[in-house]
């Protein structure tokens, strides 16, 4: 911890696995520490809480530590920082984010040395280990390498029968969006308390929930679950690609693991990609 505390500059610290708890104990003496390891809800909750008061404007939190982001989450954090900076900085996100020291965990020493070798000197680290990445995550990452193809395929798939089938299966509960480290849509809700004090809150919202695209007067631009579910994919793979040049998915597997209807986005993408491939070859022949 020889560096200045600045959340935006990445620093490297190499410690042995058995020393992690010890290291955390030391940190806890100085800061509030949130342990993001094995958390069903992703790290975004520390910067974009499920519900936060935005008026009256809260004071920034004391400096705090978010510990244990894996490589999926670190990639998501990088993307979320970018999203929350453009075109203007999101005041409430950055009010928290700038106070946070984020500590990620990279278990693969060889990869670390290869990617960041020039930025740190490893003391007594072993080159063994390697990351525990599931087969699902590997396959998903493979697909994510070509986010342009995903954008084209998902855009093409608008009239694919799969959205009808998914609308039957999906419960429209929004869990996939809450557990996604890169779902950030929100709604702003006001309330008046019994003491006559007014407040405004920002809450997580989910584009799969009914009424998400409803306007005053009652018109709903996505009245069916089929349209809303497609929009979830459309945002992640099409609009995100157009906006930031990459899919807003890092392949962390949370949405698949937590979905009560057992919907698997990797399966969906595979089907779409296969049919899109067939479509393309039929166009060429």
């Amino acid at each position: 911890m020889r560096h200045e505390f600045d959340s935006r500059i990445p620093h490297m610290l190499v410690i042995k696995k058995q020393n992690i708890e010890n290291f955390l104990e030391k940190l806890k003496k100085k800061f509030e520490v949130f342990d993001a390891r094995d958390n069903k809800l992703p790290f975004k909750q520390y910067f974009l809480p499920a519900e936060e008061r935005i008026f009256p404007v809260p004071k920034p939190p004391k400096k705090f530590v978010v510990f244990g982001l894996d490589t999926f989450d670190l990639e998501a954090l990088t993307q979320l920082d970018e999203i929350m900076s453009k075109p203007k900085e999101d005041f409430y996100y950055w009010q928290r984010r700038k106070q946070a020291l984020v500590i990620g965990i990279e278990k693969d020493m060889q990869k670390l040395v290869k990617e960041y070798g020039e930025f740190f000197s490893a003391e007594g680290g072993s080159a063994s280990g390697g990351e525990e990445v599931s087969e699902w995550q590997k396959s998903m990452r493979q697909l994510l390498l070509d986010s342009e193809l995903l954008a084209d395929a998902v855009e093409w798939s608008r009239d694919h029968k799969i959205w009808e089938e998914l609308a039957e299966k999906c419960l429209g509960c929004g869990i996939c969006t809450y557990v996604c480290p890169l779902c950030y849509c929100f709604s702003i809700e006001d309330s008046v308390g019994l003491d006559d004090k007014c407040s405004r809150c920002r809450k997580w919202d989910a584009c799969t929930l009914p009424g998400f695209a409803k306007i005053a007067g009652g018109h709903d631009f996505r009245p069916t679950l089929k349209e809303r579910y497609y929009n979830w994919f459309y945002h992640k793979f099409v609009r995100a690609y157009q906006e930031y040049g990459k899919s807003q998915c890092v392949g962390c597997e949370r949405c698949k693991n937590q979905c009560p209807a057992k919907i698997d986005i990797l399966d969906i993408l595979k089907i779409i990609l296969e049919d899109y491939g067939k479509y393309l070859s039929s166009q060429n022949s």
């Binding site: 935005i54 008026f55 404007v57 999203i83 929350m84 453009k86 075109p87 203007k88 900085e89 999101d90 005041f91 409430y92 950055w94 009010q95 608008r158 950030y184 849509c185 929100f186 709604s187 702003i188 809700e189 006001d190 309330s191 008046v192 007014c198 407040s199 405004r200 919202d205 584009c207 998400f212 695209a213 409803k214 306007i215 005053a216 007067g217 009652g218 018109h219 631009f221 996505r222 349209e227 497609y230 929009n231 459309y234 945002h235 099409v238 609009r239 157009q242 906006e243």
Partner: protein
């Protein structure tokens, strides 16, 4: 760091009843904006909602909005009196393409309570009348009662705008009263769903291509900065990329 969610508190200096459900609010501060841009109006405790500006962009001392009572925020706004304060932030979005439409015939189309941004554009055109050729305003509504701002029509007509009101729907018959050069005419519109009827029955038959039709869309803008995702249409954000779009940019969107 600027707090983009922070609104300004402004006093209401005038409230006019426009129809049984629509009130005009004049606020005691001028803002710099383009016709077609929108602001978020509201009050902490009740919420915010997006409104297109109704008044002229040349008005330095005040800004006007029309509010139809349909939801929590608008019903609350309707309870306010002159002298009360509300909160405002903006402007947001792009507004109408003021440079592109110069030296062209203009057909503005509006319906019901979609008139505010068109009214603001009308004021802009009157102020710069020599820069435009024939200018029409087609204002449709279901009933005569829903036509707003009637008392301003005389002034607009004197300013060189041909104002036509249409009750009960747009019909192909309107074309014979509109004289535009189809190669050099643009259409600017704002209003509810039946606007597509106007496009099909009037605007396209006039020879105006979809590339020269500009529509102002309505969505539930909440953050105004392309984050909250409530206002998306296809790959566009109505709050950032719009609310004014080329018709052929958005007509094939799934939402």
């Amino acid at each position: 760091m600027e707090n983009i969610y922070l609104a300004k508190t402004v006093k209401i200096i005038k409230i006019e009843e426009q129809s049984p459900t629509v009130k005009l609010f004049r606020l005691a501060q001028g803002f710099s904006f383009n016709p077609g841009q929108f602001f978020l109006l509201g009050k902490i405790g009740f919420g915010e909602a997006p409104f297109g500006v109704l008044s002229s962009p040349y008005e330095n001392d005040y800004i006007e909005f029309a509010v139809r009572a349909t939801g929590t925020v608008t019903n609350f706004l309707h309870t306010l009196k002159e002298g009360d304060e509300i909160e405002i932030r903006g402007p947001f979005g792009n507004g109408f393409p003021l440079d592109f439409i110069e030296n062209k015939d203009i057909v503005m189309v509006s319906g019901g309570s979609g008139i505010p941004p068109i009214a603001s554009l009308t004021e802009y055109i009157i102020k710069n009348r020599e820069k435009f050729k024939n200018v029409y305003l087609l204002y449709g509504s279901k009933t005569e009662e829903e036509i707003l701002l009637k008392y301003r029509f005389e002034k607009w007509k004197e300013g060189g705008i041909k104002v036509m009101t249409i009750a009960g729907g747009f019909v192909t018959d309107l074309i014979k009263d509109i004289d535009v050069d189809e190669q050099n005419a643009v259409c600017l519109m704002c209003g509810p769903g039946p606007m597509t009827e106007a496009i099909e029955k009037v605007i396209r038959p006039l020879g105006i291509s979809d590339r020269r039709i500009f529509v102002s869309l309505e969505r539930r803008m909440q953050c105004g900065t392309g984050k909250c995702q409530h206002c998306t249409t296809g790959d566009k954000y109505v709050c950032l990329d719009g609310p004014v779009f080329y018709y052929d940019e958005i007509d094939k969107n799934h939402d």
